[in-house]
């Protein structure tokens, strides 16, 4: 039980991570979007 419960909780975390959509491709899109937006504001 000492290791099975924490392992099970971590596996739920692994499943929860599928809802996290920010993969590298998406983050590049966001970074570029913010970069051009900041350039418009001279930041």
């Amino acid at each position: 039980m000492v290791s099975i419960f924490p392992a099970a909780v971590l596996m739920i975390g692994f499943v929860a991570l599928f809802a996290y959509r920010l993969d590298d491709e998406f983050m590049n899109k966001i970074e570029n979007g913010l970069k051009s937006r900041r350039a418009e504001h001279n930041l």
Binding site: V2, S3, I4, P6, F14, A19, R21, E31, R38, L43
Partner: protein, 394 residues
């Protein structure tokens, strides 16, 4: 400054990391020694000491988002978050030492002193550490550099943990000349001075490069509402809660595991084994943390996190299959587990900054510190739930 490629120098990464080294000179001391100090030196009941710590968690639930919202609305020539690190350094150091002073009061007076000083310390700690955490989201806009920055942070934090856990007991005895009521405040004064120096280095040698829109005007409610509609934030919050439930359950339970499930007395005394087991774990966690940037650069942040989490879960479950006398397999498994889990630590924190980016991209509003504060609250919630669950299952 235009937001171009924002690679950071090693010196700036170290200057950032040393700030968490400073914070952990305070935080690790609280975790490891405060309860013992309250019951064995200060002179209050364990039940009262537990009440003080529990009360502080309730205050945290309100304090953390409040600090986050205030930090996001700070505007100085030094930036939004760096000034908080400087402003809180000396008050935090003083509150830290006050926690370890034993005034000549009766039982009620001591309880009031302890609850006042501990909560003052925790409020100041949040006022320092939440803006510090948010700083990692604005030092660079480069997502991979943020992982590297967080790796430096946790390597420094673990270094401070090692120093505190290794030297505090001897320093208390040495500086107090055998009197712990003198030894504890003297030792904490030493850690406090070091912490102030480290915080000052972080303030002086880091720079905030990511600036929100200067015309941004939003209420705290608007910022909270933005988080509620931010899918990646919800996923990350849940993840922070779950990971820290697991850490709290595993932390204390391993001591019981060594004591009652393993039969290693014929090789070492069990407590020596447990110390070595933790030491080996810490070394390989540091190696795992240091590997994070390389793995993220090669495989991507989300894929690395997912794989490391999956492997950690399997390796942790494998402890249940170990024969009770297999010391080499036990240590081998611990090494693999900590190597697999290590990279998740900095990646989780660098993802918090990515979530703030996502929110800004979606809404045009940026609230970096609130994004961090809310997930830090999730982290504390997870530790609380995990500790409760551990007590129920131990």
């Amino acid at each position: 400054m235009p937001n171009g490629d924002q690679k950071l120098s090693t010196a700036e990464k170290f200057a950032y990391g040393i700030g968490d080294g400073a914070a952990n000179l305070v935080f690790q001391t609280q975790i490891t020694f405060l309860m013992f100090f309250y019951t064995n030196v200060f002179g209050i009941e364990a039940r009262d000491a537990g009440t003080i710590l529990l009360f502080s968690r309730v205050i945290d639930a309100f304090n953390d988002p409040l600090i986050g919202a205030l930090a996001d609305r700070t505007n100085t020539r030094w930036g939004r978050y760096r000034p908080w690190i400087l402003w809180t350094a000396i008050p935090l150091a003083i509150a830290f030492v006050l926690c370890y002073i034993t005034p000549p009061f009766d039982a009620i007076g001591k309880f009031v002193w302890a609850i006042a000083t501990y909560n003052l310390l925790m409020i100041l700690y949040a006022a320092n550490n939440i803006p510090y955490s948010a700083l990692s989201g604005v030092i660079t806009a480069d997502s991979v550099e943020r992982t590297s920055l967080s790796s430096w942070r946790f390597i420094c934090a673990m270094g401070a943990t090692f120093v505190v856990n290794t030297f505090t007991v001897n320093l208390v005895a040495h500086l107090g000349g055998g009197d712990s009521k003198i030894g504890y405040p003297a030792t904490m004064t030493l850690w406090a001075i070091l912490a102030v120096v480290f915080f000052t280095i972080t303030f002086a040698f880091t720079k905030e490069r990511v600036q929100p829109n200067p015309h941004q005007r939003s209420s705290v409610w608007q910022d909270l509402s933005d988080l509620r509609h931010n899918g990646p934030w919800i996923a990350l919050f849940s993840l922070a809660v779950l990971i820290h439930i697991q850490l709290a359950m595993r932390g204390g339970a391993m001591l019981y595991y060594f004591n009652y499930c393993l039969h290693l007395n014929n090789i070492f005394d069990w407590i020596d084994n447990f110390g070595v087991f933790n030491g080996v774990g810490l070394i390989f966690t540091i190696i795992g943390v240091a590997l994070a940037k390389t793995l993220v650069s090669r495989f991507g942040k989300r894929a690395t996190f997912r794989t490391c989490l999956f492997l950690s879960s399997l390796l942790m479950a494998a402890f249940a299959l170990l024969p009770p006398d297999s010391v080499y397999m036990l240590f081998g498994l611990q090494i693999l587990l900590q190597l697999a889990f290590g990279p998740t630590i900095p990646i989780l924190w660098s993802m918090m900054a990515d979530v703030a980016d996502y929110s800004e991209w979606m809404t045009g509003r940026r609230s970096t510190a609130l994004a961090f504060a809310s997930i830090i609250f999730g982290l504390k919630l997870g530790l609380g739930v995990g500790s409760w669950f551990k007590r129920r299952t131990a």
